[in-house]
């Protein structure tokens, strides 16, 4: 296809590149090609160093061991008239080649131990963010530090048309998110992970941070980015059908820019706040619900509400959609592949329920946010 970036030249480059080659960072998304992503935290630099050390030691042993093997393949072959010796034991040699690897392993383990301890030290954070894995998006809650109270969902922003090949793919294909996690540079950020449905893993290669997000449990990790920029990652634990479609983007900004962002974000959130007592009309809910449907439901149940036979039930003519209590229950509780959507607000849930009850040929009454509020209890 035309949109495979210079596949021929890069293949060629791949063929002749050595193990340690790092491609220079070109376009924003291409962070690395042969080696670990260029590090932007001290931990990531340590991991780089560890990996290089391991690779060099292993490489040297490999060359040493296999030069002996290829030497004897070359020299000690029957076709060259080699006559087999008959020895098959040598205690000294056997002890030596047990003890030397043992020493090498200790040499490898010592610096690694230091890094393990450093990676686990999540104390004294300047900012704490809770990261929640959902099928299939990430929720970010700033729970402590500047920006406390900010909360938003972040999901894939790459259009379906690009995935299906109807539009050319951009360099950030599958890495674009609706809203990046914004953090200040040179500040220690503690990340608490958890999940809503199944296990996910929050991975940003440039930070050397990967932490499983486990439903019902909180785990933590941390990073201190020392470079301004956008750093991208993806979900690393198989979490169902859209596992490959829930990227992560972290935007590292200067302290001043961060303060500005926090102020702007808080204003934006206040504006979005729905009046909890408002009684909504059916057209209002349908209009709002269409948007909620497009971002959350469409990838399975399809734009026409027909679903995918055998995998995702059709909503058009669905008995569950027609019955208000059933629909409320399935939206909040999930069923089989259908995840729970309780992370959405009451208004969003009411809107999307109303939309599906009045689209694709369905005709029914509206669901009020208060009904979801009551059902949550």
């Amino acid at each position: 296809m035309t949109n495979t970036i210079n596949s021929r030249t890069t293949l060629l480059r791949a063929a002749c590149a050595g193990l340690l080659t790092t491609a220079a960072g070109g376009a924003a998304a291409i962070q690395s090609r042969f080696n670990l992503a260029p590090p932007v935290t001290q931990i990531a630099r340590d991991v780089h160093w560890l990996h290089n050390m391991m690779l060099i030691i292993c490489g040297l042993i490999f060359v040493a061991v296999f030069s002996v093997m290829f030497y004897s393949i070359w020299k000690h072959r029957k076709s060259k008239g080699a006559v087999a010796a008959n020895w098959h034991e040598n205690t000294t040699v056997e002890i030596v080649w047990t003890v030397i690897p043992f020493i090498i392993v200790i040499v490898m383990a010592l610096p690694a131990t230091r890094t393990v301890v450093a990676m686990k030290d999540t104390s004294n954070a300047d900012l704490t963010v809770k990261v929640t894995g959902y099928q299939w998006q990430w929720g970010y809650d700033y729970v402590r530090g500047e920006g406390e109270g900010i909360s938003f969902l972040s999901k894939l922003a790459t259009p379906v048309a690009q995935i299906e090949g109807r539009e050319p793919r951009t360099s950030t294909y599958l890495l674009d998110v609706t809203q990046p996690l914004v953090v200040p540079v040179n500040k220690k950020v503690r990340v608490i992970t958890t999940a809503n449905d199944v296990i996910h893993a929050w991975w940003v290669p440039a930070f050397s941070v990967k932490q499983d997000a486990i439903p019902g449990f909180a785990r933590d990790t941390w990073f201190r980015a020392d470079k301004i920029g956008t750093f991208r990652g993806q979900c690393a634990e198989l979490c169902g059908k859209d596992h490959a479609f829930m990227p992560i983007a972290v935007q590292v900004v200067s302290a001043e820019d961060y303060t500005k962002w926090v102020a702007g974000k808080k204003k934006e959130m206040a504006a979005l706040q729905d009046d909890p007592l408002k009684q909504w009309t059916l057209p209002e809910l349908v209009a709002r619900g269409e948007k909620v449907y497009q971002t959350n439901c469409q990838s399975c149940h399809q734009a026409n509400g027909q679903g995918v036979a055998g995998a995702f039930p059709a909503l058009a003519g669905s008995k569950v959609v027609a019955s208000k209590p059933d629909q409320i229950q399935i939206l909040l509780g999930g069923k089989n592949l259908m995840p729970s959507w309780k992370a959405l607000s009451d208004v969003e849930l009411a809107a999307v329920a109303t939309y599906t009850r009045n689209s694709f040929g369905n005709k029914s009454d509206e669901v009020q946010p208060t009904e979801f509020k009551a059902a949550r209890k």
Partner: protein, 531 residues
């Protein structure tokens, strides 16, 4: 034990040779270790083809970025079932097939200890395979939770998940019975004079493997039974909301799973240890240390499981313990590689296909060993866990390790099994093409993983496009190359130059080389004396 009592007269033994059913009954009612071995080998080869087709189907989708062929939910079924079928359907039964064929002949026993149980443990496998294949056609399709079947994703799966659980239960029961049979045979039915420390390495590695199987298959059965009750009977073993813990599933699974990877590699070590001395014309270097190294690997395999779980967020002490324990495994494994090379050193080598696969095994498996050591370092593992680096690592040890050893063993013993020599030229083609395409497929995956491509992805960012394209091309080449193997085997069964009793002129060869080729239906009814 009674089983070792020799049959009194040779005449009587001769009668027995014709005393077995023919046609389909010969196979369905098979109690002869050679017939059952053959059944196992054909079963595993057909599962290898099925698993291979699934692998090619998923590589097809990964040829280019974007979704061209499959929906992501079906792609996940492909990766899951490729793993399940290759591990439980192809590699494990193949080694049991080798054990059935070779262990009685190598220790001078007339057959396996429990002939009817042997029949049962094989005939459990086809129904299990059927369940797995059928699961693609039930509503929701086959399970798509990965071969590791992590909770709570398994709870979301359709009935395909239950079929997979039943299939694994059945295959587990089959493995346990097979292991009991192998242990009993080896411990009780060795020919007079064959002490344990005189046993061929293949028998040693299988003895240790069989103990591993008995120890861990019930653990897997427990894990998947808990999954089953969580799915259907309202239990909460792995559900935090009910007081359970999803991470506990991983602990239980990997307590099975890590010994499992050695179950798939130790018999391979055994095969390689048999082949190298024959073609180097020099006794195996450090036989005793080989036995001790195998036992050490097996024992260590029980205390390293959580290195698969560094990213779940273990305490510092836990990470350090599992990191150190895992790194220790490099030592006995290194000893094995050194011993093989020392066996070749100052030998008088020839390079027939079994030897080529054995040398290829050592060379490529060692790369997988080194990436394993790199992965043992917790901070590096956290960076590349669940990435293509891990995919590259375990294919280097399972394809270039277990599978290459199986090929080596097949070429090595085909003359004994069939009585014909295989086509050496085609065998060499099979080796070289497998070696090249294997590396074209899996070497670039190291780069993909380091650069940040997660595994089990139906689609990927543009930066990973070129290496994925390369891997897909290599994968199809590797798959097609295996047809050469099928052709060579069929050709060898149908005819070919007559194989001598000891076709490789194994100087210090095992008892199998004292038998005629093809090995008669019943062998060693009178146990041989081992000096």
């Amino acid at each position: 034990m009674s089983a070792v009592i020799p049959t009194p007269t040779a005449d009587h033994a001769h009668d027995h040779a014709h005393d077995h059913p023919h046609g389909w009954r010969r196979w369905l009612y098979a109690t002869n270790h050679k017939d059952i071995g053959t059944l196992y080998l054909w079963f595993s080869f057909s599962m290898f083809i099925v698993g291979g087709v699934l692998a090619l189907a998923l590589r097809l989708e990964l040829f280019q970025p974007g979704l061209q062929f499959w929906r992501p939910e079906f792609f996940n079924q492909l990766t899951t079932m490729h793993g399940v079928i290759m591990v439980f359907g192809a590699i494990m039964p193949a080694f049991v097939g080798f054990a059935n064929w070779m262990i009685p002949m190598q220790i001078g026993a007339p057959d396996m200890a429990f002939a009817r149980m042997n029949n049962f443990s094989f005939w459990l496998l086809p129904p299990a395979a059927l369940l797995i294949v059928v699961s693609f056609f039930v509503p929701g399709g086959a399970t798509a939770a990965g071969w590791t079947l992590y909770a709570p994703l398994t709870v979301q799966m359709g009935p395909g998940m239950d079929l997979a659980i039943f299939a694994l239960h059945i295959m587990g029961a089959s493995s346990i019975m097979g292991s009991i049979n192998i242990i009993t045979t080896i411990l009780n039915m060795r020919a007079p004079g064959m002490t344990l420390m005189k046993m061929p390495m293949f028998c040693w590695t299988w003895l240790i493997t069989a103990y591993l199987l008995i120890a861990v298959m019930p653990v897997l059965a427990g894990a998947i039974t808990m999954t089953l009750t969580d799915r259907h009977f309202g239990t909460s073993f792995f559900n935090a909301a009910g007081g359970g813990d999803p991470v506990m599933y991983q602990h239980i699974f990997w307590f099975f799973g890590h010994p499992e990877v050695y179950i798939m590699i130790l018999p391979a070590f055994g095969i390689i240890s048999q082949i190298i001395p024959v073609f180097a014309r020099k006794p195996l270097f450090g036989y005793a240390s080989m036995v001790y190294a195998t036992a050490s690997i097996a024992i260590l395999s029980f205390i390293v499981w959580a290195h698969h779980m560094f990213t779940t967020g273990m305490p510092v002490t836990g990470q350090l313990f599992f990191m150190y324990a895992t790194m220790l495994i490099a030592i006995p494994t290194g000893v094995k590689v050194f011993n093989w090379i020392a066996t070749m050193y100052k030998g008088s080598m020839t390079f027939e296909t079994p030897m080529l696969f054995a040398i290829g095994f050592i060379f490529v498996f060692t790369m997988g060993g080194f990436t394993g050591l790199i992965l043992a370092v917790a901070p590096i593992d956290i960076q590349v866990q669940d990435s293509y680096y891990v995919v590259a690592h375990f294919h280097y040890v399972l394809v270039a390790g277990s599978l290459f050893a199986l090929f080596a063993g097949a070429y090595f013993w085909l003359p004994k099994w069939t009585g014909h020599m295989y086509d050496e030229k085609l065998g060499k083609w099979h080796f070289w093409l497998s070696m090249i395409f294997f590396n074209v497929t899996f070497f670039p995956m190291h780069f993909l993983g380091l650069a940040g491509m997660p595994r089990r992805y139906a689609d990927y960012p543009m930066q990973f496009a070129d290496f994925n394209m390369m891997a897909t091309i290599g994968g199809f080449g590797f798959g097609l190359t295996q047809m050469i193997f099928l052709y060579v085997v069929v050709k060898c069964i149908k005819g070919g130059p007559k194989a001598a009793e000891n076709p490789w002129h194994a100087a210090d060869g095992g008892l199998e080389w004292t038998l005629p080729s093809p090995a008669p239906f019943h062998t060693f009814e009178t146990p041989p004396m081992v000096r």
